[in-house]
Symmetry: C2
Subunit: 340 residues, 2 copies
DNA sequence: ACTGGCACTCCTAGCCGGGGAGTGCCAAAC
DNA sequence: GTTTGGCACTCCCCGGCTAGGAGTGCCAGT
């Protein structure tokens, strides 16, 4: 494949993203200084179409990139546009003000949505990749307890439950000591085993309570709260001249389904060391997202503990979006590092 | 105003809601057994239009209810359709499974969204109407502390902060005792005063730490976390043949703005003892919501501690929606009562 | 290998006219 | 005096049609 053909493809992608209209040979020849005539561009276009990178909505219309075309663009042609100094500074300032993990996550979603003009999705640090920093047991009433778990990634999960018997202050202290001894510092993936042996270690009088506590602990560690995500910028779906007009419904639905969102953010780090993934159109393997692209990145202090990303139409500004997601992911990682 | 004229108005509202198309005199005369001819209905319609309850999109089209028309319908004509037994049972079962306040709130939003096919909004119990049940101080590292506040309405707010000096275990215990002594049982509206006097009560060595703690407490009580809302069912905005097609953007934006949502849920209980409010079209006093109706209800154990509601097009099924919101609000109140 | 020219395709926007739904009014009937 | 059937009228909606234009593919010439 010719160098010039690649240039033509780039021109088509860029123009199409900018105008949202099929782009013709004349426009390409004129607006991008290729030094050749429209007729030549036409020949290249015929080749690109044959090879599956672009297609025509109908005879005698301009060309539109296919998923394959976008893919090639992202992999080889897109020169990442770094954020402007002002944007960089805004990111830093806005995130630096965050006071805890919740705040970091919500601010991150807003920031991503604003920078990219797309829908932003941020996963809380996965419990799978976190370790117990501290467990707190609070007695709300003689029989009602609250368990608070704080992880080294800053997540705070809390859970209330009923104790099978009334507990004195000493009992609560003892239980707190017991669970912290057993679990503090342990990665949550190892927790179930440790939790299993809790009951044996307790004083006979506390055994039933301990086993209730163990159930709650286990539940906290592996249950519904395991993955959490925050979303912002849904209104951006109506941008771009309502591109999603027809298929907006399923996307709005998906945004309220953690499972789908997690699938979209996906295993960015799987195998390869690449921290950033772009999934375009049907690469997402979800029927409703055939016109949707996802730009996602892992983040975390050192190791990846979670993912964040952005979701938009396949015809989006990849270079800009990639730069934004990468910058934000990096900076959030830094912040987590500091707070460790 | 004639009884029959009211019947005609009801017919128009009901048919318009069902079909989403302007309704004509013939349809009214036929489908609703009024025992009069289309010509008579026409006369009544002319009157209703004159009085501002309905209007024509253009000459020679059917009639559409105005905001004033919907209002009359809701106030005097709509017979609330109680939920079916199956629905009732589903509500009870689904909510009974909730394990804590967070769970209650998210389940409630989903339930409302599903029952009404609209967007559901649920406000967490307002801190203004809650009292401190317990304050917990957890030491994460010698200088890093976490404050956890639990209210009598079940809300749990947590906040991390840096202490100005290293603290021993005894210090933490002492501070915890101090703040609980001063605040436990107090309504949060009274808290600021009590917090103000905290520093004086502390041991000299702990004064600086206490005042830092006081700042954090104050912040927790009155800050950004004061009002929280959960939303579900945004995808329902695309129902109804995309009624919102044109104005979807501002509504999606509003759904991410707590301030706007709170304004919409509004002071349902203000003055009057009515627990349920319907605000139609420009009664909302927000420009973008001129085609939107809100059905909201207060909830809480005994007194109202928060609001929940549903948001949809002005042409919505008021009787059904009102019944659903009322039923859910009542049941959530019951649950909070039990958990008190 | 590139270019200008040219015929061809097909979409789009605008115009026109018929059909239909619904109205308002009037005179007659109950 | 309220109700009714009749009737002329208005205006939207829809389909078909046409003119215009953008873009293509191909070919012959450079």
């Amino acid at each position: 494949m010719d160098d010039r053909k690649l240039e033509v493809l780039r021109a088509i992608v860029e123009d199409y993203v900018a105008t949202q209209e099929p782009v013709g040979s004349k426009a390409v020849a004129q607006r991008h200084a290729l030094g050749v005539s429209a007729a030549t561009v036409r020949n290249d276009m015929a080749y690109l179409e044959e090879a599956g990178y672009i297609h025509q909505p109908h005879t005698s219309a301009g060309r539109i990139p296919t998923v394959k075309g976008y893919r090639l663009f992202v992999d080889r042609l897109g020169k990442i546009k770094p954020l402007s100094v002002a944007e960089r500074r805004a990111v830093h300032r806005f995130l630096a003000e965050a006071i805890d993990l919740d705040d970091v996550v919500t601010r991150t979603t807003r920031l991503l949505a604003q920078l990219t003009h797309q829908v932003a999705v941020v996963q809380y640090p996965s419990l799978n990749r976190s370790a117990v920093r501290h467990l707190e047991l609070v007695s709300l009433s003689p029989q009602r307890l609250m368990l608070v778990m704080i992880t080294d990634t800053g997540r705070v999960e809390q859970r209330q439950f009923e104790a099978p018997a009334e507990l004195g202050e000493g009992d609560v202290l003892e239980l707190r000591r017991l669970i912290n001894e057993q679990l503090q510092g342990k990665p949550l993936t190892d927790a179930p085993k440790a939790i299993g042996s809790l009951t044996e270690l307790a004083r006979p009088e506390l055994k039933t309570t301990t086993s209730a506590l163990a159930r709650v602990l286990l539940d906290t560690v592996v249950s519904r709260t395991e993955e959490r995500v925050a979303v912002a910028g849904a209104a951006n779906l109506t941008r771009n001249g309502g591109y999603f007009a027809g298929s907006l419904r399923p996307i709005l639905e998906a945004l309220e389904e953690e499972v789908v969102l997690m699938q979209l953010l996906g295993r960015t780090d799987a195998g390869s060391g690449a921290l950033l993934t772009v999934r375009i159109g049907d690469e997402n393997e979800i029927a409703d997202f055939r016109e949707t692209a996802v730009v996602a990145a892992g983040y975390g202090p050192g190791a990846v503990v979670g993912h964040m990303g952005v979701l938009g139409p396949t015809r989006m500004d990849y270079p800009g979006t990639i730069a934004a997601v990468r910058a934000v992911a990096r900076y959030v990682s830094e912040i987590l590092e500091q707070n460790r």
